[in-house]
Every structure is written in structure tokens, then in C-alpha cells.
Assembly symmetry: C2
Homo-oligomer: 476 residues x 2
């Protein structure tokens, strides 16, 4: 299709030449029809309603950074007047109000166009654990869409919308990005309010943002990042304008001994190529032993955190257990065997593992990891609904447990044509740093955006960073 | 007795005029004999061994801030070669090494003189839940000694030692201070290593320090405060030299509607007098509604944290349940009814209560609270072993759950002669601020130190604080 590219750059250019937001909404609905996958969206405004919302925007308003930008919302996040299902019809309720973050997107001029499918209760990294049928991967229908934010990832991959909200505990905001050749921004915990979100693991999750480009994901992050005292887990977090990263950042990667591709040599080559790109942009690459990080990752389902998920479904489980997807139920009900003492033992163990990981992370500006170690097909998941899911979490599961922020960014396609993707990770509050580091990677090669034919953005030139505190002199 | 005052000032003056550390050790053992309470210490070096350690110090070393200073250690903290019982003979083990903090005290020249009695497994604020018999309160033997660090509080109250280590989860480092007319410094969580400590609630507890004066407690805090990576809950924390507090600090106190004295009008008058002292020193007093803080306090035993205590005794409980004090066992075994989901629900509830308390605490430099709302006798505890204990925690239980630091400081005696005490509290990392604020209070009136006849220190003159970051100019 020769549509308007679903990027802020593409939309702003179209609006500047007189295209109307109604025309953009018509394109959204036309692309939905052209894609023809009924499992992406679980609920939508009618086209007429969406057009009315577009008209209600009035004339272009440069003070609204997302004016006329279509966005989708994972269906575990409230949008006023639309059911929130969490992919479980018997759980559904229809909220009167928008989630805090959805309200921010709307206030910034964003146009809501649909609630997206997900692994039920955001439990899964595959996107197929849903009673509504799995959305098809936007790149290759044999591959799983990724999850749990599968519908959001696929909607952006197809260029239906410019932005889509996901959520991320284990990697639900990153794995679908890797599988659909798009960007997945996983903010610092607490940066984005969870008010109006059906929790999965409330203490270690966040809303996430999918977009076709890093700049777009980060622009949406800036819009969404405002402190919400009503969310007890929210924290004031910085969301400054992007500036150039350090000239020679120290980037940690998994050591040769500890890196895991599960036999996928094509993925290994793709990752090596991405690391070379970083090196070419001046990074100092430091190999670190990932054993302590894998040990942290294992706590997510082996430790007590599955009990957080249990608190969400407990009432439904008593009332109508068959309403819950059997795989999901089997995973979450492990919590029934765990005592409060087990929960605290898990918290102690995590603290000890985090401490053990500190030496490896000392002196590193950011980590670069493969977003996923390899690919899995829907057939693989039918044969074994658990192991591929666990494997997808190899490089994602430890991140929220260690309170890191990250961004999954496409890299040049693999030698077999499948999308390349790495994730840049840094300590909490460094969301701008990882986004800035990701810009060079997304501009490399001759990749197209998502599953579209739209060209990747030109390499960005960022303004230099403000002087650091190392240059401060005390004079007060 | 006309002994050398057990303060750093008193000891330094004695050493300066040629007194030997052996003479000080002889005084320690003479006072122990004079006090004649066999329930204060659970284990001690022989006097000959202690004298040998004193001789081994060599000549006075000004680089060792605690050179020749006798100290005691609560018996849930390891001292090499002495059994650690946690007041439970069947739990006891004899460690090969010192706890991290004990090693710091010894390295600074401190002289270890004994392990002190406690409420078993540091569970209690009364000091009588011990199979070794309760130590007698140093001021009035009818009053409970306070706990759980009862032996440490009494040892300092009697002037046997200059310093004693306690631990503090619910208030075990503060309540004995109030009951024995001494100082109880409860550091920021993580400031003092827990390596070599039998935990009570590992995620929300700390070693604490008892002393006769604020300056002494803070000096010991500075010695002990060094980051220990081996303790997964340790955090690097500041322990700067004391400087003058703000000229007009904003001090929050419980509002008239929310303050609780349980009918003790003498305690109410004593607290009002302490607040007047603060006001007289320039503080702006702001009444705040304590309801949110009381709600936090209730989480400590009503929430899931009791399961932390359960993890400590679980093995012993299976092996020999009768080895555990019946009151202690009844409290801790409540954890058996709590699931991991309950634990996380407790964590959520705490986060929400902490958020609800934020508005009341905004703009406050520190809180000032009565350390205890009223007094209880050993007879009261025999009649009801639980309620008085709970009441003692009125103003202490919320503190570690909210990650605040604090110092319990004596104020002029109440009109009935019982000790006055308030606790100053501030956010984590402000240990120096609360200590500085406490100095004026301890110097007020004509109080003696602890149960001794030694005079209170003269009002301190602290150097002005360094310029704050508000005066920084960026020039790098």
C-alpha cells in the first residue's frame, strides 16, 4: 500500500500538506480490512465513531505532540466505554473512565482505534494463550505473534496504528517487538501509571509502548510519563528530551560462555552483527557472565511472584475456574502451594541474586542482549505450550526483577529474512539513554518498518547532553 | 558510685589523665556485681579475658574512635566464640566470626564485655519474653525493661557499658531507650550490615545502637556504617559528621485528634513539654493526622510480615516446637495461615498506605513522637502478655515499614519521676539530621544519664552545615 507511513514523521508531513485526520482514520480502517485478521482487535469504535473523534480534534494543534496519531490499547488497560477483558470474557468489565496513560494519550491528541488481543491475564510471551484466537504474526503467519501484548505488536507491525500500549512483566512489551520488526519501549518501573490496568505482577510490571520507530516510542513515553499519586507503585521519573549518548559507551553483552541461542546460529550471527554496529558507533563492548542474570530470571516463575498473578484471578478461580485458559490456570495455580514464608524467601533470594549480579554490571552504561534467543512457530506452541514460552524469556525475564529499563529495537534482517532485534537495558531512570543508543541500530541496513514497505528513519542527530554533575562546582 | 562516666567524653577524659583500659574493665565488672541482675547478660568473657583484651589495645590510639570503650551486644548478633542464642537455647550456635558490625566496633578499639538478653527471636517490645528471666528495668524494677533489646537497654541504663547493640524491627531499638532513660539510635534500613545477625523481619529491620548520649550513639553509628556487599539488604548510606540542623526546622507531631496516650495524662504533659523545647529552639511545629501512620503500623503484625519471622524459626518449630516461648510461638505461627498471595496483598496494602501518608509528611523535616504512649509493669504483662506489647508499638511500628530513620532521646523526667522520651524520625538517609535535632532535647532540664547519677552533656555547638545543593552552579 502507498499509505501514509504510520510514524509521527510521516503523519506530521501528511498533516502539513493538508491531509485530514479523518483521512488517516479511513486509512486505519482500510488497513484493518486489508490485513483481514479478526484476532488483532477485541473491541473497536465503529469507523463512524472514530471519524467523529478525528473531526473533534479541530485544527492542527502543535501543542499536542500526538495530534491525529492513531493508537491501540492492550485489552488489560481501560478505555472508557469499552470492555476490559484481559482476554478472559468472564472477567470482563466496562470502565467508566480511561486508564491514566490512555487519558494522557488522548489529551495529547492521540486517536484511539481499538483494544488489542493478548495472552490471557498478560501471562505468556507467545500471544496464543487467548480464547479469542491468536493474532497472526505480521511478518510471517507461521511464527507466533509474541505476547503477551500480541495484538498490539501485530497492529503496529502491520502499520495499522502508529502507537500501541502493551504491558510488560516478563517481556510482554519486548518479545512481540522482536517478532514483528518493531520497537518495544519498556519503561522504568513506576514511570507510567498503572491506574486503570488489570495487573499481572503488580510489583514488577509496567505499561509499555510499541511503535515503528524509536523516536515515536520515546515521544509517546514522554507524553505518558507523569506522576500519578493514585498508583501506589508510581514514582516520579525523568523523561527528558533525547540527547546524544556518551561517545564511547560501555555496553555489556553476554559472554561467549553464557550467551544462549538454543542452537539458532542465524540468530547468533544477527546478534554479532548488531554488536558490530554498536562497536562501529564507538561503543566499548564488554563481555559479562550472564549466569547471575539467568538466575534472577528463573525467580519470575520459580519464585513467589506467580502469587501476584494469583491475587488477580483468585475470585474468578473460585467462581468459574473453567473461565481461565488451561495453560494460564496451570501456571498461576502453582501459587496455591506457596506460603507467605515462601514469598519472603523468594524476596530474600532475589535480593541475594541481585547483589551477586552487581559486580558484572558495575561500570556498564547499558546492556545489549538478543531480545529473543530464537523463533518459535504456532505449531511449536501446539506441541509444547510451555517450553518455547520460557525460552522466549531468556533475555527479558530478569529485567523488571532488577528494576532496569529497556528498549527492544529492530536490527537488519537475519540472513533468513526474519527480523533482527536486540534490547538495550540500563538501570532505572535511564530510559532516555537506551532510546538514544537504539537510534543508530534502527537506522542500519535497508530494513523496512514492521511488516510494511515504509523506509526506516534516517540516522538521527541528537543534541549534545547537558553537562554532567561531575562538572559541578560548589559556590552556594 | 563515683565511677568514670560511661560516655566517650568521660572515658576520653579518664584516659587522658592516665586511667588504663584495664581499670575501666574492672569498673564494668564491679558495676555488674553491684547491679546484681543475672538476667542482663547471657554470656560474657571472664573478667580475666576482658582485661587481657584491654591490655591488648596497647597505648591510646587517637585513630580509633572507640579505643577503650566497653560495649555489649544483643544476643541475636554474632560475637566470635560466644553462643548466639536469640534467647532460645535450642536455637543456639557458636559462630567462628564476629558480625560485620561487631568487627567494626572491635577494630575501632571497642571492648566487648557481653551478650545481652532479649525477647526471644527479637519478637516483642517488652523484654520479658525470654526463658532466661527478664532483666529488671534499670530505673524502676516494677516497670518492664522494654524489648526486644532489653538487656542492652538495661546495661546502658545502669552505666555498665557505654554502648550496646540492639536490633529494631517494630521498635526494639527505641522502646528500651524510653524505659531506661537512654538514647536509642535506629538507623536507616540497610545502613548497618546484617551479616551475622539472626533475622527477625529481614526486609524491615536494622541493628540499632544504645548509648547514654546522642553524641555517643552517633559516633558508634559512624563507626558501624560501612557498606557490606555480603548483606543483600545493605545499602551505601551517609554517616557525615553532625552539623547544626536547620535554624527553623518543620517538625510534625501527632494532631490533638490523633495523638494516643491511652489515658496517661502525665505522659501527655511530658510530650507537650518536649514539643515546647523544640519550639524554643526555633522549630516550627506542625500537627499532622497520624491515622495513616497508625494504619501502616497495624500492617506489621496484621499483615504478612510475621511470615518473615516464621522463616527463621520454621526448622526449629518442626523439630522441637516447645523450645519456642509460647507467646512468641503463638504470634509467629499466625504465618501458617498466610499464603504467598496474602504476602503480596500485604505488600500492596502497605504501598497504598504509604502513599496515603505522603501528603501529611510533605514539607516536614522530621517527626517528633512520644517514644511510648505510656508505661507498663511486669505485673501488667503477666496479666496480658500481648496488649501492652502492642501498645508500646504505637509510635514505633510504622517506622521501618516506611523506611524512616529515627532516634529515641531522653527528655526531662515526667512529673512522677519516670523517664521522658521522644523519638525524632525522618526519611531514610537523614540519620545525622535527627541526631542533631536530638541534642538540644537531651541537654534540657537537670536529668541524669540512664539510671546513673552522671550529669547530662552540655548543650552542643555544632558546626554549620555545608552549603546545600540549592547553591550549586553548573560550570562543567
Amino acid at each position: 500500500m502507498s499509505d501514509i507511513p504510520m510514524t509521527l514523521h510521516g503523519l506530521h508531513a501528511a498533516y502539513a500538506r493538508g491531509v485530514s485526520p479523518e483521512a488517516v482514520i479511513r486509512q486505519v480502517y482500510a488497513r484493518i480490512a486489508a490485513v483481514g485478521d479478526p484476532a488483532i482487535f477485541l473491541a473497536m469504535p465503529t469507523e463512524a465513531e472514530a471519524l467523529e473523534a478525528a473531526r473533534a480534534l479541530g485544527p492542527f494543534d502543535p501543542s499536542k505532540p500526538l495530534w491525529g496519531v492513531p493508537f491501540a490499547v492492550k485489552d488489560n488497560i481501560d478505555v472508557a466505554g469499552f470492555p476490559t477483558t484481559a482476554a478472559c470474557p468472564d472477567y470482563a468489565y466496562t470502565p467508566d473512565g480511561d486508564a491514566f496513560v490512555v487519558a494522557r494519550l488522548k489529551a495529547a491528541g492521540g486517536l484511539f482505534v481499538g483494544k488489542t488481543n493478548l495472552d490471557q491475564f498478560a501471562t505468556g510471551l507467545v500471544g496464543v494463550r487467548t480464547p479469542y484466537g491468536a493474532p497472526l504474526n505480521s511478518i510471517d503467519p507461521e511464527i507466533v505473534p509474541g505476547g503477551s501484548s500480541g495484538g498490539s505488536g501485530v497492529a503496529v507491525g502491520h502499520g495499522i496504528v502508529a502507537l500501541a500500549l502493551g504491558t510488560d512483566t516478563a517481556g510482554s512489551g519486548r518479545v512481540p517487538a522482536a517478532l514483528n520488526n518493531i520497537v518495544g519501549l519498556k519503561p522504568t518501573l513506576g514511570a507510567l501509571s498503572a491506574s486503570g490496568v488489570v495487573p499481572a505482577c503488580r510489583s514488577i510490571e509496567t505499561i509499555s509502548i510499541f511503535a515503528l520507530t524509536v523516536q515515536d516510542a520515546y515521544a509517546a513515553f514522554q507524553v505518558c510519563c507523569a506522576h500519578d499519586p493514585a498508583d501506589a507503585f508510581a514514582k516520579p521519573c525523568p523523561a527528558p528530551a533525547l540527547t546524544a549518548p556518551p561517545a564511547a559507551p560501555v555496553i555489556g553483552i553476554p559472554s561467549a560462555d553464557s550467551i544462549r541461542f538454543l542452537g539458532d546460529t542465524v540468530q547468533a550471527a544477527s546478534f554479532a552483527e548488531a554488536v558490530d554496529l554498536l562497536r562501529g558507533h564507538g561503543a566499548e563492548i564488554r563481555e559479562i557472565d550472564f549466569a547471575p542474570l539467568y538466575a534472577v530470571a528463573e525467580m519470575l516463575y520459580e519464585g513467589a511472584w506467580v502469587a501476584e498473578r494469583y491475587t488477580v484471578i483468585e475470585e474468578l478461580l473460585r467462581r468459574k475456574p473453567e473461565a481461565i485458559h488451561p495453560v494460564t490456570r496451570a501456571i498461576i495455580c502453582k501459587a496455591e502451594a506457596l506460603s507467605a514464608a515462601d514469598a519472603f524467601r523468594g524476596i530474600y533470594r532475589l535480593k541475594e541474586l541481585a547483589r551477586a549480579a552487581e559486580p558484572a554490571l558495575a561500570g556498564i552504561d547499558a546492556l545489549c542482549v538478543p531480545t529473543i534467543p530464537t523463533f518459535y512457530s504456532t505449531a511449536d506452541l501446539e506441541a509444547d505450550p510451555v517450553t518455547p514460552n520460557s525460552n522466549f524469556g531468556t533475555y527479558t525475564n530478569f529485567v523488571n526483577l532488577l528494576d532496569m529499563c529497556g528498549i527492544a529495537v529492530p536490527t537488519p534482517a537475519r540472513s533468513d529474512g526474519r527480523p533482527g532485534s536486540v534490547t538495550l537495558l540500563a538501570e532505572a531512570g535511564k530510559d532516555a539513554l537506551v532510546a538514544a543508543l537504539a537510534l543508530d541500530l534502527e537506522a542500519a541496513g535497508n530494513r523496512a518498518l514492521g511488516a510494511t514497505t515504509w523506509a526506516t528513519p534516517a540516522p538521527a542527530t541528537l543534541p549534545p547532553a547537558a553537562p554532567t554533575s561531575q562538572g559541578l562546582a560548589v559556590c552556594g
